[in-house]
């Protein structure tokens, strides 16, 4: 492997570091399977892969407490799994089955789970941001200590909803952690082709929100940044903004021919990929070897295989159920 890898700090909890690696590997392999199932026609609609960005969600999710809410985007398979929605329920949702976490009504872009406070799966860019602000408002009014984690891409920062939401969260000092996953492309439009100010933290700071730039390819950095943000938000210091600089290795969606960037550019970033670099560091610290790797891969492969089987054998929601859940079934 990488002879140049820097060993992990001496004081690191080795088991925890290995667990971070396992979590990233799990969502990577899951999504590779999703892409495969898409190609074979089992999954339809849009499919937006998180491959390359795993260190962000994995690091962030370590600080998400049970009472918190996560408001994510349409590129949210990883966050959903990390948050604790079962792989079976996520895969079944992609298959459009009744056993899916949204009973087949949401698909890839709209994974929801009330039990874990996973409030979607919003496929309108910027659309989840006001919702996260509102959840934080409820938390503050109820003084329940919850934090709203608002995950979005840098493309959302061109939306009015970003600016309205930042202002409101700062004005009312609400416990929201704004997690910008800057993968440098809003679909096919590069950041510097769409923003007059590409120092994204400056936008947040203009609303007097504490903002940090974070290496989004380093899971230890993302974890530490998220912990600082969570501590600050929980202490009542208002919103916090984290810009995670990352990169999407795959196309925007399965329909994207990637005419806007070169293969070489993608390759350069892949060499700095979160699994590759962190795996090498684990090895340099003697926390990971070929055998342990093989064990992890085997466990994950088994879970994925089971999820596919679960989804395959799931129940198609009967068409007679079409009209359900437009309105709540229990009316006053």
């Amino acid at each position: 492997m990488n002879e140049m890898a820097v060993p992990l700090p001496d004081d690191i909890d080795g088991a925890h570091a290995l667990e971070l690696f396992r979590q990233m590997l799990r969502i990577r392999r899951f999504e590779e399977k999703c892409a495969q199932m898409y190609s074979s026609g089992k999954i339809r609609g849009f499919l937006h892969l998180y491959i390359g960005e795993e260190a962000v969600g994995t690091g962030v999710m370590q600080s998400v407490a049970p009472r918190d809410a996560v408001v994510a985007t349409y590129r949210e398979h990883g966050h959903a799994l990390l948050r604790g929605i079962s792989m079976n329920a996520v895969m079944a949702e992609m298959y459009g089955k009744q056993e899916g976490c949204s009973r087949g009504r949401g698909g890839s872009m709209h994974l929801f789970d009330k039990a874990t406070g996973f409030i979607g799966g919003n496929a309108i860019v910027g659309g989840g941001m006001p919702v996260a602000v509102g959840y934080a408002l409820a938390a503050k009014m109820q003084q329940n200590g919850a934090v709203a984690w608002c995950i979005f891409g840098e493309g959302a920062m061109a939306e009015g909803e970003f600016h309205e939401s930042m202002n409101l969260a700062a004005l009312w000092q609400l416990p929201v952690v704004f997690c910008c996953e800057n993968n440098y492309y809003a679909m096919g439009t590069a950041l510097d082709r769409s923003e007059s100010q590409i120092q994204l933290v400056e936008k947040a700071r203009s609303y007097r929100v504490v903002a940090e730039e974070v290496d989004g390819m380093d899971v230890l950095a993302t974890e530490a940044a998220a912990r600082r943000a969570a501590d600050s938000a929980r202490a009542g210091n208002g919103p916090y903004f984290l810009e995670f600089q990352t990169y999407r290795f795959r196309a925007h969606s399965m329909f994207d021919a990637e005419r806007y960037r070169s293969k070489n550019e993608v390759h350069e970033h892949e060499l700095q990929g979160p699994l590759r670099t962190f795996g090498a560091r684990l090895e340099a610290s003697s926390l990971l070897d070929e055998q342990r790797r093989a064990e992890l891969e085997a466990d994950i492969a088994r879970e994925i295989e089971n999820a596919v089987a679960f989804a395959e054998s799931g129940t198609p929601e009967p068409v007679s159920e079409l009209g359900r859940f437009v309105y709540s079934e229990v009316q006053p």
């Binding site: 309108i124 509102g134 409820a138 859940f325 709540s328």
Partner: protein, 335 residues
């Protein structure tokens, strides 16, 4: 109004009734709070919440920035988070800035989540024209929202409804939009001393009649009642049906009045093209076509942005004389 008020009744304006409903909601349930532009220190752009800031404090009477999308969306998030927000959008015209949150989020989350995430949110807004406020403050766009499954659209026309619909809306597990016509705020009406929550699924006959049905809602109700008085002087007995709720529509009540009178005029301040009047006409066609003696007629806003000048605005909006003329043509033309 009459100088004698029946026992057990109180006379009050629509504004006072709306205010009483809000006051009761805030008093009864700690989870309820009011949020919107100028609801606090200014007292509400239509003075509905005057004094609330002092009484309930800034946590529960929240002045917001002019960020319709953010504060409507924040209402959605707060509702999901366990609160019972009442969001005031100053007018329906401005609600278009929050249309993403209302249509793409509030209306979809329950369905997209397979029944998990309901949004118990109430959004109030003013609607309609007649105050010479020109095109960007005078439109009746409630029909846009009545188009959307997942929403409920209420259009209280009376003091009883504007007071009581709020309580019912707050008890509803799903998003409810309440449209208050701007010309109604100063109108007086009688309210029972023990008035409370009202049903929101049924249209109501405000005047019984036998020869022609005037189907309407909101601000136009009073124009229809006035038209019915004038029609009576011409010997025409008109029934007035107040829809009260545009989504869901009370088909049963609509078909019942059609069956009784066999003649229909739909009166709506929205535009005719693609409006709620078109929807009602189609439903009558589908469900009660053979009950009709004559084709359905409509009195709607002219197909123009509502203009400022008085004579132009009057000409653009449905007027009593237009309703009388349309109903008269139907009845006399058929005699």
């Amino acid at each position: 109004m009459s100088t004698t008020i029946p026992a057990g009744m109180r006379e009050m304006t629509y504004r006072e009734a709306a205010r009483e409903g809000l006051h009761e909601a805030l008093t009864r349930d700690e989870r309820v709070f009011l949020m919107g532009e100028d609801v606090g220190r200014y007292g509400g752009s239509y003075a509905v919440s005057l004094g609330f800031l002092e009484e309930f404090g800034p946590e529960r009477i929240r002045d917001t920035p002019l960020s319709e999308s953010a504060f409507v969306g924040a209402g959605i998030g707060a509702a999901i988070g366990g609160m019972r927000p009442i969001v005031e959008v100053m007018t329906v015209n401005f609600s278009l800035l929050a249309a993403d949150q209302i249509i793409n989020t509030a209306a979809t989350y329950l369905h997209m989540s397979g029944g998990q995430i309901n949004v118990p949110l109430v959004i109030r807004m003013a609607t309609g024209g007649g105050l010479q406020l020109a095109a960007q403050h005078s439109h009746s766009l409630e029909n846009l929202y009545a188009h959307v499954p997942g929403l409920k659209v209420l259009t209280p026309a009376t003091v009883e409804d504007v007071r009581g619909m709020l309580a019912t809306a707050l008890a509803d597990p799903d998003p409810v939009l309440i449209f208050e016509h701007i010309l109604l705020y100063n109108r007086k009406g009688l309210l029972a001393a023990d008035a409370g929550a009202v049903d929101i699924h049924r249209a109501r006959i405000r005047r019984a009649g036998t020869q022609v049905s005037l189907i309407t809602y909101g601000g136009s109700l009073w124009k229809c009642l006035e038209a019915a008085e004038l029609l009576e002087q011409q010997g025409i007995d008109a029934e007035v049906l107040d829809l009260r709720t545009l989504r869901p529509l009370d088909d049963e009540a609509i078909m019942a009045t059609v069956t009784r009178t066999r003649r229909v005029v739909i009166v709506d301040e929205g535009w005719r093209s693609g409006g709620i009047s078109a929807e009602i006409t189609a439903r009558i066609h589908e469900q009660a076509f053979y009950e009709l003696d004559v084709p359905v007629q409509r009195v709607c806003a002219a197909e123009v942005p509502i203009p400022y000048a008085k004579q132009l605005e009057d000409a653009a909006l449905p007027q009593v004389a237009d309703i009388v003329a349309a109903a008269g043509r139907l009845v006399k033309g058929n005699d």
